[in-house]
Amino acid sequence: MKWSQFFNTSIGKKLLVGATGLFLCSFIIVHLAGNFQLLYNDGGKAFNAYAAFMGHNEIIQLIAWGLKIAILLHAFIALQLTFRNRAARPVKYAVNPGNQTSSWFSRQMAIMGSILLIFIVIHLADFWWKFHFGEIPTQNYGGEEPLKDLYTVVQVAFKELWIVVLYVIGMIALSFHLIHGFKSAFQTFGLNHVKYNGLISFVGIWLFGILIPVGFAIIPVVIYFK
């Protein structure tokens, strides 16, 4: 079987979805750690320096473009599989088992993923686009050059209630998506072992499904009420 054929099979496509998904999981840990600097009361000194580094370091930029490709690939292949899966049952059942045979989260992957994709587009337009291509104020913290003040842009944005609500909805979608998604990727890679299943499931549900999305969601909420 040629590589082109291999990655065109249902399992081959799922491998790509799983691999890009886990890559994005690793990214959100770094992203959250950086975001916590938004909660410092230092007028943005730490966060803006961090943003300037992330925005200009060549290796980080290379990974950042890799992330965007991963998001597009993940979404495109997953949607392709979803449409195929829907077509595999042209006549629906009149009665469905609901949660008796599978978890609710496991059945909402496409919906939650789609909400996330929309969220990511809005999120990138809000901050990433503005930071790189838009007009934003600068601040001088005593360095050689003034830094772009992304800190203030974020603080202003999160004073708007609807933006805060949007971000919380986005993080609920992230939570529900990863509660099933993280462990599902391991099963797709064939990594199912009685000694590790408990750990994989625990990390998927508690770290990626709950702790990280709650960490992200706390930031706009705290800024709104500050």
């Binding site: 079987m1 291999f6 099979t9 249902s10 399992i11 081959g12 496509k13 799922k14 491998l15 599989l81 195929r84 899966n85 077509a87 595999a88 049952r89 042209p90 006549v91 629906k92 059942y93 009149a94 009665v95 469905n96 088992p97 609901g98 008796q100 045979t101 599978s102 978890s103 496991s106 059945r107 992957m109 099933h180 462990k183 599902s184 099963q187 797709t188 890679f189 064939g190 990594l191 199912n192």
Partner: protein, 254 residues
């Protein structure tokens, strides 16, 4: 358990043939014994329909002892009804109460076209087996026991996978109509044994290629198949199939 009689309302899918538009018909059935099997209840209803000069309901059945996998009925939203690890013929009417309404549908999947009423064509499974679910050897006489060593754990796992009766409940239960549990059982039972080794790689690749060609959906690891499987085939088989497919895809030279 105490014996009782019940009256039920059945909503059954009626469809003249593959191309016809199907619809639900409602049938009252009375005096059903709690000791009857679900299929026997259908026999009672069909006799009544025949006596009234109506067309009986077509449904698949063969052994009626839970090993042939023919009795494909989706009952109240559950493949083979509400009991775990049970085929429809082994489902007894004591699973229901007097006055219940029971909805009976055929397996719903593009790959399993309805032949008539509750009967579906599961030929897609046969074609997947034809693509590699066998061992090409001259059988000859049986060998001496222990001339090929098989570890006990491995033989138990192979046996558990070989318990698959190809009933299609996994496809019926899956929201994607995926056949992964079936294919994983058929690949596993041979991948775990010495006799399956020579064709191990081509088997995994060819059976998955055929599965995709039959337009089954892809697996999203919801676990509904395992929950509904009458032979309790484990999801670990799907992980093994993924490993078999990945290692074959990365190393098979053809």
């Amino acid at each position: 358990m105490e014996h009782y009689n019940m009256n039920l309302t059945l909503k059954v899918w009626r469809q003249k043939n593959t191309d016809a538009q199907g619809k639900f018909e409602t049938y009252p059935v009375s005096g059903i014994s709690s000791e009857m099997s679900f299929l026997e209840m259908f026999d009672v209803l069909n006799e009544k329909l025949i006596n009234e000069g109506k067309e009986p309901i077509a449904f698949d059945h063969d052994c009626r002892e839970g090993i042939c996998g023919a009795c494909s009925m989706h009952i109240n939203g559950r493949a083979h009804g509400p009991w775990a690890a049970t085929t429809t013929c082994q489902l007894h009417m004591r699973a229901f109460k007097d006055g219940d309404t029971v909805t009976v549908e055929p397996w719903r999947a593009a790959s399993f076209p309805v032949v008539k009423d509750l009967t579906v064509d599961r030929g897609a499974f046969d074609r997947i087996i034809e693509a590699g679910g066998y061992v090409s050897v001259n059988t000859g006489n049986a060998q001496d026991a222990n001339s090929i060593l098989v570890p006990k754990d491995q033989s138990d796992e192979a046996f558990a996978a070989a318990a698959c009766i190809g009933c299609g409940a996994c496809v019926a239960a899956c929201k994607n109509s995926s056949a992964m549990l079936f294919v994983s059982a058929k690949v596993s039972q041979l991948a775990l044994l010495p006799q399956g080794q020579p064709e191990r790689k081509s088997r995994a690749l060819n059976m998955i290629a055929q599965m995709d060609k039959e337009m089954f959906g892809s697996c999203t690891n919801t676990g509904a198949c395992e929950a509904e499987c009458p032979k309790e085939i484990s999801l670990t088989n799907i992980a093994r199939l993924n490993r078999e497919f990945i290692s074959a895809g990365f190393t098979y030279e053809k």
